[in-house]
Symmetry: C2
Subunit: 252 residues, 2 copies
DNA sequence: GGGTATTTGTCCGTATGTATT
DNA sequence: AAATACATACGGACAAATACC
């Protein structure tokens, strides 16, 4: 037997799904049915389904059955846009049908010591004090992303005291910093990796805890007009329903 | 039993890995050992290991054992750099220790009819003729990314005949198009999604065929000085060893 | 609300195959 | 060739979630 049985079953089912013989959202035959169809044991059938599950083709629902996953049009985040109103729920979002509402929780504000990487990004000494502002963000009531922004404590000491208040800063933190301290956002750098979800993320985004859906993690460091970093924003998105877009130079 | 046994075992092992009680690269106890340690059946132990595997913490090697995965420093691709010498192996790469060599195969050139999405990106009619130039790219001899560029056939008709030759175009296609047709790259748009690897990709990148490692797919559309798209480049990277960086505005 | 049937989830035991040392 | 370790495949039993009457 060159190819294991469970792979043969998985390949056969995959063909039926990709040829639309089994439609999106439709239910697959039950494990019991598949045992009969392929003359295999239940565990072998389940191995086949698990393969399709980790590849994101199907999902199982206890008590109901196994279903072909529905394709969802992804949320699009444009990296080349500055964060206008980044805490006020006005976050820019491109969607084919733009009738969507976005919202975010009030920030949870913490005073922390900078980890090695955070200190490095903000050009601070390690263990420097930073302000952390954490928010959960939703689209149409569904969890969309988790965001934490870090600011050097010097900004508060210089007068930007609203940074340590657990309230939205409207119309945006950058506008506020410009008004209070004259800091302008001259540029930013996004650094993007894909990694497995941790427990908190799996809970918030309601991911199956088998670790199949990975996370897109975006570290954005913002620089002022003197080239000094003044903010680090870490955003995490579920990779299966989000898309990133970046424009450079002149695009139509 | 609130938490299933295999999850308890997985959590316990995860703790030992994250606390470095079991070092990176080290071997886990064998399935037989774990059966004894946790007084569980072999299948239950294997369920626990599978959970850690899909989360990317460990990998199994038949005949050898189960090992904690080594952390590899990711390859960094800077999206905000134009593709200087994009076919000549000079692709820009940021690495801590920059003593690395990159190389790519000679392009495989095909004449194709544009799919719906490709036609849309290049502002062509569907089923228009496009040139496809496909390359495999390596770093230090290891597979790094797959790249396919699409060009409208009108570029060849207007004189850029080297596009349909299966040879590198040095110092770069953009330079060539500028010289022959006066086309300059005024800007570009990157669109990034994460998806499961297909069979060809799993083979090229030597991924385990359990579909655990997903792919980063980057669609880059380049625009000329008149705002017209003249090239679409689709790149695919394994998500577990690649990082994207983008700079906007003025960054230090 | 309760009970029952259906369906997937967990767990066990066993046997054999394949890869590596 | 032999020993070790993971991979595949079978069988059975009970639990948990869901749907339906």
């Amino acid at each position: 037997m060159n190819e294991p049985i469970y792979r043969q079953i998985a390949d056969d089912l995959r063909g039926k799904i990709e040829s639309d013989e089994i439609a999106h959202g439709a239910q697959l035959p039950t494990e019991s049915d598949l045992m009969g169809q392929y003359d295999a044991s239940r565990n072998t059938v389940r191995d086949a389904i698990r393969l399709l599950t980790t590849r994101g083709l199907v999902e199982t629902r206890p008590g109901q059955g196994t279903f072909v996953v529905e394709q969802v049009s992804p949320y699009v985040t444009t990296l080349s846009d500055p964060d206008i109103g980044e805490e006020s729920g006005l976050y820019r979002l491109d969607l084919a049908a733009s009738q969507h509402t976005s919202a975010s929780t009030h920030p949870r504000v913490e005073i922390q010591r900078a980890s090695s990487r955070i200190a490095n990004e903000l050009h601070l000494e390690q263990d420097s004090t930073v302000i952390s502002r954490h928010q959960k963000r939703y689209i149409d009531g569904a969890p969309w992303s988790l965001q934490t922004s870090f600011y050097p404590m010097r900004l508060v000491e210089q007068g930007a005291t609203r940074l340590i208040q657990a309230a939205d800063i409207k119309p945006g933190v950058v506008s506020y910093l410009t008004g209070v301290l004259g800091i302008e956002q001259a540029g930013w750098r996004d650094s993007i990796i894909v990694r497995a979800a941790n427990e908190a993320e799996a809970g918030f985004f309601r991911l199956s805890d088998d670790g199949r859906v990975s996370m897109i993690e975006d570290w954005r460091t913002a620089f002022d007009q003197h080239g000094a970093p003044f903010r680090l924003t870490v955003r995490v998105y579920p990779a299966d329903r989000n898309q990133l877009v970046a424009n450079f130079g002149s695009v139509s």
